[in-house]
């Protein structure tokens, strides 16, 4: 029999959810949806499955469709599973001028995947994204909450090597901020 794992935030995350909810006036709790979806990605393997979205809808007392339509609008929400380490390379004008295209090609070749794909071992996903407000230190990429700037092939090797060694999932809302 296929036993479904119960979806629920950890007690620490739930405490944070309640803190977030208290920031908006009574009856306007839907406002906390974006931050809570970030937390959900941190807690539930880096992506938003339909079950996770239904759970968030339940928490906020809103219709599931109100969560789906939002989750699909914003580029940071992953509606499909991603690797433990999501590499987001900026591909917009200023970075492009400084060699973002070469960075993407280099990572594609190094990992043997194309933009949007995940390595077979589930370690890395490559995604090109739009300007990350770091154009003065181009080319650049984001992994979790960290900006890696002024990229060169050697730097990329080092950075990805470190994540591979760590072998832990990294998310935009880093786990370390959920604890206290």
């Amino acid at each position: 029999m296929n036993v479904k794992k119960e979806i629920a935030f950890s007690p620490e995350a739930l405490a944070l959810v309640h803190k977030l909810l208290s920031r908006y006036p009574d009856g306007k709790q839907k406002s906390a949806l974006l931050p809570i979806l970030h937390l959900a990605q941190t807690e539930f393997d880096g992506w938003l499955s339909p079950e996770v979205m239904d759970y968030v809808a339940c928490l906020l007392n809103i219709q599931p469709v109100e969560v789906y339509e939002v989750a699909s609008f914003y580029s940071m929400f992953n509606l499909k599973p991603v690797g433990k380490c999501l590499i987001e390379v900026c591909r917009t004008g200023p970075c492009w001028l400084m060699g973002a295209e070469d960075v993407v090609k280099y990572i594609e070749k190094k990992l043997g995947i194309k933009d949007g794909q995940t390595t077979p071992d589930g370690m890395f996903t490559l995604k090109t994204v739009e300007c990350l407000a770091s154009c003065g230190t181009a080319p650049m990429m984001q992994i979790g909450e960290t900006y890696h700037e002024n990229l060169t092939p050697e730097k990329i090797d080092d950075i990805l090597g470190n994540y591979e060694m760590l072998n832990e999932r990294v998310t935009h809302w880093d786990k370390k901020h959920i604890k206290a």
Binding site: P25, L34, E69, A133, C135
Partner: protein, 441 residues
């Protein structure tokens, strides 16, 4: 040394923390403001001539005075920290380095507007800055600078930071409000303006990070002294994000009025074009503003040196001028392909269109496809006119200015660099990086 108002304490070790910020005189201006009548603060901001630093350059004091004040209805101040305009990275720099300057500005501005709850909406990608701000906010609560009876006054304020989740359109103020309400970032039809009906239907002011930070030195020195810096209606200092083919990319605080030539070539700022290359083109105010060839960015058609001011950059209208915009100054040297970069920007706008208005949703996609076709070697001469036609049918025909932002780069590239499109088409896509050519007109 040029005057520094926002980045004055940049190099002070530990300036991120409340203690060090206070040692440098931080929150003294809040104290001063709390002793003033709220309307007197708005009056100083009006006198200062401060204009919105988010891109549109609307006078801040005037915007504040439009805020509706129906009795019994809460009012909100929302700080726009969405910073997503390609080429712009000054707000991130400021928030990350001197978070308390923004917070002090937020408390003073909220007091001036009579807001008791305010929000900083920061783009989700900047999550590490979100946590820096959250830490600074926590410090303020602990020190009685936020919460009830701030600094012993009878003013109370709750300040919260809120994160977005990746959408350029959420920088547009009504989309930002929708997003803050937990919805898709679809811009609203105006009127009603946020000053009347904004966040949760209440009167709301939305201001850029740099605008709100500038309120602190305005209180410190007085509106008149602030207005004495700069040239004409471009008063005070401005943060410029410089990127692209220059020797010293980075964020520079300039006194408005610095000559563009000095900004590009002096060691104080960009330090010249990389490798001693020739200056081909500049996008002076973030990706949305018209691109100008090197000669036209340095001098107006009247032969006057162009200055870093709202007026001077706009001199000549769209025929030969551009805009200061958000201050995202993108420099291209002789190796850059105008068409390829235009394709990149157009792809960006297509990706970021919220999809509500057909001219923007469809038009940006068509323009992207045509540019791709030209770069791929399948372009025809009539494609240039087709591009022109499409952009002209997007401009001014959409709910929000994202449509204009997508149209202007296309129009200006064709206006000033038509020969580069033609060469690409004639050669079947081969001349991708034509040699430097001066402006024909």
């Amino acid at each position: 040394m040029p005057k520094k108002l926002l980045l004055k304490h940049l190099e002070v070790p530990g300036i991120q923390s409340l203690d060090v910020y206070r040692q440098q005189g931080g929150y003294e201006n809040l104290k001063k403001a709390l002793s003033m009548v709220p309307d007197a603060i708005t009056e100083e901001v009006k006198k200062s001539g401060l204009r919105g630093r988010g891109g549109a350059g609307f006078p801040t004091g005037m915007k504040w005075s439009f805020l509706a004040k129906p009795p019994g209805v809460p009012r909100y101040l929302v700080c726009n920290a969405d910073e997503s305009e390609p080429g712009t990275f000054k707000d991130r720099y400021l928030m990350q380095r001197i978070p308390h300057l923004l917070l002090e500005g937020m408390i003073i501005s909220s007091f001036a507007l009579g807001a008791n709850t305010s929000y900083i909406y920061i783009r989700g990608e900047l999550m590490y800055v979100y946590h820096i701000l959250q830490k600074a906010i926590d410090e303020c609560y602990a020190a009685g600078l936020l919460g009830k009876n701030i600094m012993g006054s009878d003013y109370s304020l709750h300040l919260h930071v809120h994160c977005g989740a990746g959408a350029y359109i959420c920088g547009e103020e009504t989309a930002l409000i929708e997003s803050l309400e937990g919805k898709r970032g679809n811009p609203r039809i105006k009127p009603p303006f946020p000053a009347v009906k904004g966040l949760w239907g209440c009167p709301t002011v939305v201001n850029n990070v740099e605008t709100i930070a500038a309120v602190v030195p305005i209180i410190e020195m007085g509106g008149d002294a602030y207005a004495a810096i700069g040239v004409g209606k471009s008063t005070g200092t401005k943060l410029i994000s410089a990127s692209g083919h220059i020797n010293k990319p980075g964020v520079y605080e300039i006194e408005l009025g610095v000559p563009v030539e000095e900004f590009i070539y002096s060691d104080e700022y960009c330090g010249g074009v990389r490798n001693g290359n020739k200056l081909k083109a500049v996008v002076a105010g973030g990706s949305s503003v018209p691109i100008l060839p090197g000669d036209l960015i340095l001098k107006t058609t009247k032969g006057e040196p162009r200055l870093m001011t709202y007026e001077s950059l706009a001199d000549g209208g769209f025929q030969s001028g551009t805009m200061l915009g958000s201050g995202g100054f993108i420099v291209m040297d002789e190796t850059a392909s105008i068409v390829k970069n235009l394709w990149n920007f157009t792809r960006f706008y297509h990706h970021e269109s919220c999809g509500q208005c057909s001219p923007c949703r469809e038009g940006t996609g068509w323009m992207e496809k045509i540019l791709h076709k030209i770069l791929d070697g399948h372009g025809e001469m009539k494609d240039i006119d087709l591009l022109w036609d499409i952009q002209s049918k997007i401009e001014g025909k959409t709910i929000c200015p994202l449509g204009d932002a997508a149209a202007w780069p296309v129009a200006s590239a064709i206006r000033h660099f038509r020969y580069e499109f033609e060469e690409l088409i004639k050669s079947g896509g081969k001349v991708n990086r034509p040699a430097y050519a001066t402006h024909a007109g």
